[in-house]
């Protein structure tokens, strides 16, 4: 690690003020991504603005049509909460499947989506469920929020405050894990929402994306059979030691089919 300052503000305003005063500063949430990068000297923030004590970031509001989770919600809290499971079981599955117990104890919803790792799970959950991101400045739909490869539309001094998830009619998330990291080689969220069918894919490409071909098929007929025979294009998908673009494209189809079956089975 390189040397850095450490501050622990108590409010969103204070946190933003600190960030504006120092261009090299970064927010620190669970630290599960940022701290390892600092240890490897890949990140060198001049200042860490720890969000742990910032008021309001861990607040939840649970309704029948939406659940709103504060950005500092740990993966573990989301995974274990009954009020999440009973409304959006797929979201519990997402949180419960991230990393290991240590990572889930520390890592947060806000940190995960701000980071937008191309193989992270939450981005697929937000995009697939059609969530809205509340920041210190505005509300952003998931469709606009995620850009390519570790990029979002967040401004430097913009803080994720909470995420609002519409409760879907039915949804399921399946991820096929990469040996080693156990991140998604491909992860697919299939959701039948009040605004239509959404399918979001993580791991396969340079960033999370919607599989419109699958959405169209499922919109017509929300059954796994509707996806049989659909050939997913490998164009633009990732190639590395863990999988070719063709393999990732193929897995996307398989997982979407299985997730659809699961969404139907879990429907309550």
């Amino acid at each position: 690690m390189y040397p850095f300052e450490y501050v622990r503000p108590a409010s969103v305003e204070e946190a933003i003020g600190l960030r504006r005063a120092d261009a090299g500063a970064q927010w620190l949430a669970g630290g599960m991504t940022l701290l390892p990068s600092m240890k490897l000297r890949l990140a060198a923030p001049s200042q860490l603005i720890d969000l742990t004590d910032v008021e309001g970031l861990d607040e939840w509001s649970i309704g029948d049509e939406h659940i709103v989770l504060g950005s500092m919600s740990s993966h573990r809290r989301v995974a274990e909460a009954d009020e999440v499971r009973t409304r959006i079981q797929a979201l519990s599955t997402v949180a419960a499947g991230i990393g290991d117990p240590q990572v889930r104890n520390r890592g947060t919803l806000g940190g995960s989506i701000a980071n937008n790792d191309p193989a992270a799970d939450y981005p697929a959950a937000l995009l697939g469920l059609g969530a809205t991101i509340r920041t210190s400045q505005r509300e952003i739909s998931a469709d606009e929020f995620f850009k390519d490869f570790f990029e979002t539309v967040l401004e430097d001094d913009e803080l994720v405050v909470a995420v609002s998830f519409p409760v879907p009619r039915r949804a399921a998330y399946l991820k096929f894990r990469t040996p080693g990291s156990r991140y998604a080689l491909v992860g697919v969220m299939v959701a039948e929402t009040r605004d239509g069918v959404r399918v979001a894919v993580t791991g396969a490409g340079p960033g999370v994306y919607r599989a419109t071909q699958l959405e169209t098929a499922l919109a017509e007929d929300f059954r796994p059979e509707a996806l049989v025979g659909l050939d997913m294009s490998p164009d633009g998908l990732n190639a590395d030691m863990h999988g070719s673009p063709e393999y990732r494209a193929h897995l996307t189809g398989v997982l979407a089919r299985r997730a659809t079956a699961q969404a139907i089975a879990c429907e309550n």
């Binding site: 040996p179 070719s244 393999y247």
Partner: protein, 791 residues
């Protein structure tokens, strides 16, 4: 004094043992799990400073210039050293003695015979970087951060050169040359076996099957990264090194050579070691560098590798390209075998153990009268390879057990029946194979029968049907193995029995997790007829442990128990003389049994500790420590642990995902000293093999030569939740070569694991046209193999 022990023992009667054979809990565990271990990084000295290496980012590059002027001026920096500085100071090279040289090793040579060019291992290179991660310069600073900061400012002017990572490419005409001395990169090329007889057998064979297997490169990833703490004492001129290894004594000699100093001026300390698996058997440049820097700077110098550095610069394992041919007659009798084994030694030769140990075992557990093996090796611009858990044997057993399965299916034999027909039977033991290697003992067929029963082999079809109903496929695999355990031939024990009732045993082997403190105490206690809690095992300080071959090649239990046995036999003779003298009777009138020396027909008796008290008393002002004995022995006869494995895997053909659902291991480790410890070794040993079969790979980018599996993100280490609950059994056939009948545990199960798992996956997919799958059989690879087979 060295005793060449009589090699024919009647293995000691089982009834003689009270502790041996029992699952005694490991006494070292409490210390280790409560943070009281003494690992290298636990040692810190006043005034200690930190060393960091500047490592090559290129697989192959000429070093034109190293500019450390800026870096030297940075805060806390004490020194920056380069290869030129080492040379100017007259430092030598690390002599790894890489060529296996016990009497039973086949002699590897350079192409055309003659001495092998090893590729000198200077502490820092002056000419070129030959692999990514090779140390090019060393920064020493007050703190770790200061050293890292300065290292970023050492400017190395590299001239990138063409690289080659793959041994099959390195031997081609026009491939980049790693060492000018060996323009075509082929540093070893030796043939063993009877070519004429093999050719004749192949010519007359009804069937010949031919296959090629790349046994991919893996790395050991011990929990404790390599570390070193170097000190120099100006007054005595002595160096002290703390460093985890498999045996401090060998390291002492090799480090002395690299520093060009008398070995007596080097003390090596090695207590607890957090995993080794072979990668810590060999000396690392940092060991020499911290000592040298400690002398130059006048302060203790510490080096601790990061995990990233370990992935790049720990000596790695396997990497053998093996092409094999099996000749069979019409009824399935094996007639002959040919193998061409090309080892990728990496940037320089650190060890030829993998190549050398595998070569004479290519025919495995089978009666194959004629065989030939070409054992050759190539330099590449990759990290050097070294022995890795069951050095060289899983590679050749994989090829053999895979080709047998393939032969069975292509020719219409039952794979089990084909194996049974050709296995060496217990009546043929000791059995001399086609390379003149004699297997000491074993009952291979019995092991196979035990495994088949434990695996419920015959109930497979019903299970497979049930799995099919879940949309998956079940496959089953079988593999036999035999491996060899040789290792450094000399070992020594110094034993003291004190009047206070304790027995101290100083020994030159080095546990790296195997529980020697427990199992050696069990042996000592039973041979003395005392309680095991009275025995202390001492190791790891070359000022105390004068000699010793360390722990490798499954040698420790066998050598230590033999040396302990020899020491106690000698001590008994002395003790009887002592008792006879005290009692004023003839030695013949004294009997020994169950830890007691008894006057025949009389009432007088002594136990060991009473004699120790007498001895101390008689010493007067002299050595009052009690009964003391030193015993060294040499044992050149290898033993051949053996056994088999059966497993079942579920395969999801849509995703390529494989899950091991059942795993049976039957092992003949000779006498089992402590079944709890051996079972633990078996479990770990299976996981080691499963990791190679399914996930692990040191993957090099084909476009840039960069190692891409540089962290646990990309390197698929096996985890507990991926393993089934293992079913294990012993088929204990004591070895006739040593008094306790010990063979070796801990490596055998790895030896069979690669083949048995791949056999099972191929079995599950055979009707899809899959007849082989390269390792690691990751989901991607399995899916790809199915797709390729479907065309």
């Amino acid at each position: 004094m060295t005793d060449e022990l009589e090699l024919k023992f009647d293995a000691l009667a089982v009834g003689a043992f009270k502790s041996v054979g029992r699952p005694v809990a490991r006494r070292e565990d409490l210390r280790l799990i409560t943070g009281k271990g003494r690992f290298t990084d636990d040692f810190n000295e006043p005034g200690q400073v930190v060393a960091v290496l500047v490592r090559s980012p290129y697989p192959h590059a000429r070093i034109n210039r190293i500019d450390s002027d800026t870096a030297k001026q940075m805060p806390g920096v004490l020194a920056i050293y380069t290869g030129e500085d080492c040379r100017a100071d007259g430092l030598g090279i690390i002599s790894h003695s890489p060529v296996p040289s016990t009497r039973s090793d086949l002699k590897l040579t350079a192409p055309g015979g003659g001495a092998i060019f090893e590729g000198p291992h200077a502490l820092l290179p002056v000419d070129k970087a030959r692999h990514v991660g090779e140390g090019i310069a060393m920064v020493v600073a007050e703190s770790h951060r200061q050293a890292l900061d300065a290292a970023e400012h050492v400017r190395v002017d590299y001239e990138p050169l063409p690289w080659v990572a793959d041994s099959a490419v390195a031997i081609r005409d026009g491939a980049p040359t790693v060492w000018d001395e060996v323009p075509n990169n082929v540093c070893v090329d030796t043939r063993f076996g009877d070519t004429a007889a093999t050719d004749a057998a192949f010519a007359s064979a009804a069937h010949v099957i031919e296959m090629e297997f790349p046994i991919q490169r893996v790395t050991a990833t011990p929990l404790e990264p390599r570390a070193a703490l170097g000190q120099y004492d100006e007054a005595s001129g002595r160096y002290t090194l703390n460093a985890g290894s498999n045996g401090a004594v060998t390291h002492k000699r090799q480090i002395a050579g690299a520093l060009n100093v008398d070995p007596e001026n080097i003390r090596v300390l090695c207590f607890d070691v957090g995993g080794n698996f072979g990668t810590k058997n060999r000396v690392y440049v940092e060991f020499g560098l911290v000592l040298w820097a400690a002398r130059k700077i006048g302060r203790p110098v510490k080096f601790l590798a990061t995990r990233s550095e370990s992935f790049l610069s720990d000596y790695q394992g396997r990497d053998l390209l093996t092409r094999v041919e099996l000749a069979l007659d019409a009824d399935g009798t094996f007639l002959a075998y040919r193998a061409s084994n090309l080892s990728n030694v990496g940037a320089r030769i650190v060890s030829l153990s993998p190549l050398g140990k595998g070569a004479p075992l290519v025919t495995g557990s089978y009666r194959i009268p004629a065989a030939e093996v070409r054992a050759w090796a190539a330099f590449t611009t990759t990290t050097p390879t070294q022995a890795y858990r069951s050095s060289g044997r899983p590679e050749v057993i994989h090829a053999l057990e895979r080709i047998i399965d393939t032969a069975a299916h292509r020719l219409g034999f039952d794979p089990i029946a084909l194996r049974r027909k050709n296995l060496v039977s217990s009546e043929e033991m000791p059995y001399t194979n086609a390379f003149g290697i004699t297997y000491d003992s074993g009952d291979y067929i019995k092991s196979m029968d035990i495994a088949l029963r434990l695996a419920d082999w015959d109930g497979f079809e019903a299970r497979a049907l049930a799995v099919r109903e879940r949309g998956l496929r079940l496959g089953r695999g079988f593999a036999n193995y035999v491996e060899s355990s040789i290792g450094a031939p000399r070992e020594r024990v110094d034993m003291t029995i004190s009047p206070a009732g304790r027995v101290e045993v100083v020994v030159g082997t080095q546990p790296t997790g195997q529980g020697h403190e427990t199992s050696f105490a069990q042996v000592t206690a039973d041979l003395l007829g005392i309680d095991a809690n009275a025995v202390d095992i001492v190791y790891g300080d070359t000022d105390i442990v004068a000699e010793g071959g360390g722990s490798h090649s499954g040698r420790s239990m066998r050598h230590a128990s033999t040396a302990i046995y020899g020491a106690i036999e000698k001590l008994k003779v002395y003790a009887i003389e002592l008792a006879a003298d005290v009692w004023g009777i003839e030695t013949q009138a004294i009997g020994y049994g169950d830890g007691r020396f008894v006057e025949t027909g009389g009432a007088r008796r002594f136990d060991w500790f009473e004699l120790a008290a007498l001895e101390a008393e008689r010493a007067g002002g002299g050595d009052q420590r009690g009964l003391r004995i030193s015993h060294s022995h040499e044992m050149h006869t290898p033993v051949f642990p053996n056994g088999c494995a059966a497993c079942e895997v579920e395969v999801d053909t849509e995703t390529g995902f494989v899950r091991i659902t059942k795993y049976v291991a039957v092992d003949d480790v000779g006498r089992v000293i402590n079944p709890l410890i051996v079972d633990g070794q078996t479990h770990g040993s299976i996981a080691t093999g499963a990791g190679q079969a399914l996930w692990e790979q040191c993957y090099t980018d084909p476009d840039s030569g960069q190692p891409l599996s540089g962290s646990f993100m990309d390197y698929g280490i096996p985890r507990a939740d991926e393993m089934p609950s293992f079913i294990t059994a012993f088929n204990e056939v004591p070895s006739p070569t040593n008094p306790l009948g010990v063979k070796s545990g801990g490596e055998g199960p790895t030896t069979a694991a690669l083949a048995v798992i791949i056999n099972a996956i191929v079995d599950a997919l055979r009707d899809l046209g899959v007849d082989d799958i390269p390792m690691p059989a990751t989901p991607f690879q399995v899916w790809q193999s199915i797709r390729d087979a479907q065309g």
